[in-house]
Symmetry: D2
Subunit: 306 residues, 4 copies
């Protein structure tokens, strides 16, 4: 395993085209694109890493996997009255489909869906309390108390997040919000600004590769069935309008973020986190995707056959 | 295995709500909804069946898996210049997205995509020749020379297929067709009218569960990588706008048809064909989906975890 | 003229179906639907009224005619870089078309367009200053210093205007706004909350019926060509997705508001204001439209023939 | 009047940019763009012409005014159950709105709407009979028995009209057609291929400028109210997605065709036909529109003021 990921890291370092760093969040635009990290966490507790696996980055939309998991824990299957379970077939911030479907987002991994999940999690609490709960949950999953929100990134998002504000007000106009739009947006922007490294992220995702159980603590985070279903959503919806392509090329459930991170799950085998800040045209990490494609090919761990 | 599928067949027989038989193709509207069949083909050559596994039905859109496979064999990866690889996020016959994307269908499993694949396969030949090739290919996959097109169904489709005609003329208006619209539609309607039983269908899909190799003949139908990729497309796009739901509930690559058939693949483990003509609101077999959900649950063969 | 409008007022009073008062702005929902007023201002300075022509109501979207006129005065034809001149063909608050056209609203009379006009008028000033200018301009047009903003309605709109907030943030996400979204929305909600009676409104619109000249003061408000063009926009776009219907039935340029007011222009002949708070399904005053249809029929003043 | 239109013809002859001839119908692509004609028919029977007013051209979509008039005569107001009366707000061949509105076109002047009108006119008759009736009606309006269909253009349209075929099959898929799609399309393509010169076209439109009465024969073609309503539709919907612009610049009801002809109506004053084959980006005659803008300006005959 270590030699596999060393190979991958080396190959990525030599890639001539590293994609383009997201520019619309000023704090993210400053990141050096020549960075790459990969960590692979196994159910037996072993973790292998290559590249800058101790460098933290903004997990952005990868956080949606954790807020969905938290929402399922708090609300159970009733969360599905707030968001659907179908791929969106449209760019990640499209408002068209949202109008067509009367303010109910297609799935919890597009921005509108994750904003709706944030509203559902809050249950009348303040953003501060909700965020404390989200961060605490991720620390529990990653078994690491040092994980925090990057306040600079959060402020940068609040200032530039007009499209997300539009989505939130749009949903609110259908009477679907329980909390004030400002509070929900604050919660959303901040949980997207959580900073993690690939070591932490791979650990945090391990319950999804291990039938819902966190092997380091032995705690059942979710039931085996729920773990499967979250994986299914990651596969069909985890990469915005590039989900089909990711399934086609990589063949693993995965969730990407514009910070350049991707969490991928090989059910029963491993939780893999990659990070490289340069993005492709869809908005997914370019080297991250290539690394996972290589990884799936070298290990034969695609869910679709060896 | 036999007892598992016997249980399933029994449970399905007792289901109070068997869905509604497709009414828009008159020949299909006549089918008795109280029918159910399941067949499971294993890589070792064993086949288990329960229910009316010798009754043929119209495979309809399940045929798209075979025409895509044939197109990949004839044209290689260049087929992707004609159709995309992303879930459509819209009802199966929607023309809206097609306009937005200048006549290029999102994937080969929505109607527009399969019509484009039919055009690509023809390569200037007549419908008759192309259909002979398609039927011959499916006979080869199913190892059964008795498979034929149901001409009554085909004629019924030609007469009622105005929406598909609209889609075809729409694509043609972008200058994307190599053959006449009439010839392409004739080919499409006829390959959808191929009649098979679940025994034949499970056998025909076995190469997808077995790294591309037909175990009964030993022939490599496609490369292992191509088998994986077809499975990935089936999972993300195989059930129209219910693909996310099928992945969520069943967790296997699958392709449904309005005739009530579904082909599902458990990579490395089995090719499963189910049939029950009653449909759910999305247009997928109601009992067929429930049977596969039970099957995946009993066997633990979901691709997303045990 | 007086007997014509007396007849109309009487007929309206007997109408069994008076439409439904707008409910989404709480302050408007309280209005008694059994009210009707009509005023006709002629170029010679005469004004005829029937019904409660001294009762003020919220002019709402009728104010868009005046903000557009003001914007044309301040910015000239460059305003057309911010909004288009085509009917929208979609419900008045649709965001779909806005996405398709990259944040540029189709015309200045749909909500998004009027919000963009508000942004253009502000030119960096505070809402308070801009609103003072708008109110002053309308007082000048109506030759009446008593016209003011209804602050209760304005606050009610701010609280419930989530859809408009969504539209504003959406446009801002394309980088099209010069002022803060909050400031623009504040300006927009307040100018919609100006209260006028039909006497004042008919007077304020008279320059459009009189080649751009206010006959009471003799001042040229706009050039004759500009007056014609504003009339053209009112005819093609003044009634949201009911503009075609209004042209078909009434045959006069007109602009409606959800407060139940309509300003209609018979070029060269009269400026007509009607008010009745009950709305039809499109959101235009039900009795107001019927009254104008009767009026155009009785006077033969349709622009499309006698 | 003669000197006004001589001036206009001269100015048009000197215009450096004459637009681009429609290329998608091969027979139209061959036309010399350096041609211009204008004819003005007055209610008193006088007709003034300048340019090549005896040269016939394909009237294309201008024919929709006449088929709508014929349909209103045959079916009365029930035609509005088949087509709406609102501007479409989309390019003329868009299928998106048609899906959104379940196959009912927005108005009779977009292609889908005119195809639906053709279906309504047929009433079970063959295309040949229906076309004979349409041609006879136009001859009656133009008081000229020499008007015929250009069969070469008609054949050219049938061969290249895939987008219109798509629209027709799409509507048929909603069960809205009374006749076969082929027959309706044949009728539509042929009535679009009627050839007229501006002299004939201005005469044929005169009933719309004269309260529904053909002054040369004294016959009432339609009631005054119906004439007004057809004018209203021409103003709001007559130039596809450029209708707002035409109203803004010209200020007259008008209907354009891709053959380069435009019929415009100054109610009570004149019927004006212009022709120049070069089109603008929307698909309306470039010089034709400019000539009408000049004409409206010189005569002060805009419906929106002098």
């Amino acid at each position: 395993m270590q030699s596999i990921i060393n190979d991958i890291a080396e190959q990525m370092a030599q890639s001539p085209d590293k994609g383009i760093v997201a520019s619309y969040i000023p704090q993210l635009a400053k990141i050096d694109p020549n960075q790459f990290a990969i960590s692979v966490a196994l159910p037996n507790g072993e973790i292998y890493s290559a590249g800058c696996a101790q460098t933290t980055f903004s997990i952005q939309s990868v956080s949606k996997v954790f807020t969905l998991t938290l929402a399922l824990g708090k609300l159970g299957e009733s969360i599905w009255s707030r968001v659907g379970r179908e791929p969106s077939g449209d760019p990640f911030n499209s408002i068209v489909q949202l109008e067509h479907e009367h303010g109910k987002p297609r799935n919890p991994f597009i921005n509108a869906g994750a904003i709706a999940v944030a509203d559902a999690i809050m249950q009348g609490h303040q953003p501060k309390e909700t965020l404390a709960e989200i961060v605490q949950f991720i620390r529990f999953l990653a078994n690491d108390e040092s994980i925090v929100i990057d306040e600079k990134v959060a402020r940068s998002e609040v200032e530039t997040g007009t499209r997300n504000a539009s989505l939130a007000y749009f949903m609110a106009s259908f009477g679907l919000f329980e909390n004030s739009v400002d509070a929900v947006l604050g919660t959303y922007f901040h949980h997207c600004s959580i900073a993690m490294n690939t070591h932490q992220l791979a650990t945090a995702g391990l319950f999804l590769a291990n039938n819902g159980i966190n092997p380091s603590t032995g705690y059942a985070v979710v039931s085996p069935q729920r773990a499967k279903r979250i994986n299914a959503l990651m596969l069909t919806c985890g990469h915005y309008d590039g989900s089909g392509e990711f399934a086609f090329r990589v063949g693993l459930p995965g969730k990407s973020g514009v910070g350049g991170g991707i969490l991928a799950i090989a059910p029963g085998k491993a939780s893999i986190a990659v990070w490289s800040p340069g993005l492709d045209v869809i908005g997914n990490s370019k080297l991250g995707t290539e690394a996972l494609e290589l990884f799936a090919s070298k290990t034969g761990w695609s869910v679709f056959g060896q």
